[in-house]
């Protein structure tokens, strides 16, 4: 491992679903490249089906790219790396038959962490996520926002350097996701983790990210990267600032034609 290596390096990665000749064959990713520095937070935005989630799975080693290479800490990815990478999915990824505490402990159980350490690490990360009082509840007894905090606690308890979040706010209502976004920014500002987050919300992307990677329509590749120059943790005042609005509009301009093309509409006429 070279100390200068970026946390994540993605080089010209492509991925296709479906066999050759199958009419349903889809090129999800068509040569995406990206470098993410240690401690950086990058949001991936783009039209539906552009391969954002696919890229996340490839970085996490849950799938193997058809072509191209991915390195984590300078080492090529060849499968899941639970010691280095933790995932946060949509809320349904909590195991319904385990309590919140048991859910948080599960990853450590897979990795053979001793029982006593598991319990204390789980309690610690539940406290960080503000869920200590709900440790023995079952997932279905929690609200959507709390379930997502529980998933975050599960990921934090694994103590990985990298956190991959796949549309973690998708199932939440707008108010909850705004508050959760603030909490997340506060929580992660001091954690020093490298984070990649897939989202559909442009506001959220600007609010949270150091850099926002904008994908083109299918076959997805990274069209442009927009930097957000703002201190962490970010507060509510940033949410309503003209700076955020201006960056969000910039993202929307970049995405507008891509989204039209996925809807099979002609590109907008100039001046419209």
């Amino acid at each position: 491992m070279t100390p200068a290596a970026p946390a994540i390096r993605v080089q010209n990665v492509s991925q296709t679903y479906g066999a050759a000749g199958d009419p349903r064959r889809v090129v999800a990713l068509g040569g995406a490249s990206l470098e993410i520095a240690r401690g950086e937070m990058v949001c991936l935005v783009g039209p539906s089906g552009c391969g954002k989630s696919t890229l996340l799975n490839l970085i996490g080693g849950l799938a193997t790219p058809e072509s191209g290479n991915i390195w984590i800490d300078g080492e090529p990815v060849r499968g899941p790396q639970p010691q280095k990478v933790a995932f946060v999915f949509q809320e349904s990824a909590l195991f319904p038959w385990r309590t919140i505490q048991e859910n948080v402990e599960l990853g450590m159980e897979f990795q053979g962490v001793p029982v006593s350490e598991r319990a204390s690490r789980a309690r610690e990360s539940l406290a960080t996520a503000g869920l200590s009082a709900f440790a023995s509840h079952y997932p279905r007894q929690l609200s959507g926002g709390m379930k997502q905090r529980a998933q975050l606690a599960r990921a934090l308890a694994l103590r990985t350097g990298i956190l991959l979040m796949d549309e973690p706010f998708a199932a939440l209502d707008e108010q909850t996701r705004m508050v959760f976004g603030e909490e997340l920014s506060l929580l992660l500002a001091n954690a020093g983790k490298t984070i990649v987050l897939v989202t559909h919300s442009l506001t959220e992307a600007v609010f949270l990210a150091d850099r926002v990677a904008v994908f083109s329509a299918r076959p997805g590749r990274i069209k442009q990267i927009v930097s957000v120059d703002e201190e962490h943790p970010r507060r509510q005042s940033f949410m309503t600032s003209p700076k955020l609005a201006q960056l969000r509009n910039e993202l929307y301009d970049l995405l507008h034609d891509e989204i039209r093309s996925t809807m099979n509409l002609p590109a907008a006429e100039p001046g419209q």
Binding site: N57, G60, L62, P80, P82, Q83, V85, A86, F87, F89, Q90, S92, A93, F95, P96, W97, R98, L106, G107, E109, F110, Q111, Y138, P139, R140, L158
Partner: protein
């Protein structure tokens, strides 16, 4: 006027039906064919003093339990194989569906020709009924596992055995018990039909004896005992299912 609880009303309906039966049987019934429920109750006591009848009920219960255990074990293994592997499912599922849709009673005489008139043919016939609902329920359960749970487990470093133990099996617990309930209903049907068809030592011997010698009170009583046995076994499986489907209520 407030209405009684539905459960109370239900008991009242049953009592009313028994009352109508009692009056009608006493007033109009031919005692060769029908008897009032009061006589059936009296026949229960006499029936249980007959050691042969008690023996036959035990014997049939034994056939039911053995058939049930075999059906559950085989059904679970096949259901898992069919549900977890796409290829096995594509190859085996249509064959299993076809076998399930066959009217099995038509091959009952074949079971007797092959396995004889003893307990083995009843058990085999019971298994042939119970195994299919078990396969279907377990296979459906295995297919309904959220892919995100499997991905989530793999992302946390679970190996194949851990995925089975921590994700697949816990997820299958409700399906397992639901399958057991359906298998029990089917096994009861299979074993009892086989008993009624031909029987050496089981209850079928007495149902046909009571029919041929026109003893309605004894016949009603014996059928009542068998129905009670069926209700008890079904209810045990249903309770188990309710208890173990806790996290499904989400």
């Amino acid at each position: 006027m407030s209405r009684p609880e539905p459960a109370v009303a239900r008991l009242a309906v049953i009592a009313l039906l028994l009352g109508i039966w009692e009056v009608a049987a006493r007033a109009f019934g031919n005692p060769l064919f029908i008897c009032p429920p009061s006589r059936v109750v009296a026949a229960f006591a006499a029936l249980f003093r007959d050691a042969d009848v008690v023996e036959a009920v035990y014997y049939t219960s034994f056939e039911i339990l053995v058939a049930f255990v075999i059906a559950v074990v085989i059904g679970f293994a096949l259901g898992l194989a069919v549900g977890l592997h796409r290829f096995t499912r594509g190859a085996m599922y249509p064959v299993i569906l076809l076998l399930y849709a066959m009217p099995q009673v038509t091959i009952l005489p074949l079971f007797v020709v092959v396995f004889g008139i003893g307990a083995v043919s009843k058990i085999a016939f019971g298994v042939s009924h119970g195994v299919f609902p078990m396969i279907m329920t377990v296979a459906a359960g295995a297919q309904s596992i959220e892919p995100i749970l499997l991905r989530s487990a793999r992302s946390m470093g679970a190996n194949r055995m851990q995925v089975l133990r921590y994700v697949v099996f816990p997820h299958l617990v409700p399906s397992f018990f639901a399958g057991m309930r359906l298998a029990m209903t089917a096994v009861l049907l299979g074993v009892l039909v086989a008993e009624l068809y031909v029987s050496q030592a089981g209850v079928g011997r007495f149902t046909s004896a009571f029919t041929q010698t026109f003893q309605p009170a004894n016949l009603f009583a014996l059928i009542g005992v068998l129905a009670a046995l069926a209700i008890t076994l079904n209810e045990l499986c249903r309770r188990a299912e309710l208890r173990f489907s806790r996290w499904c209520a989400g």
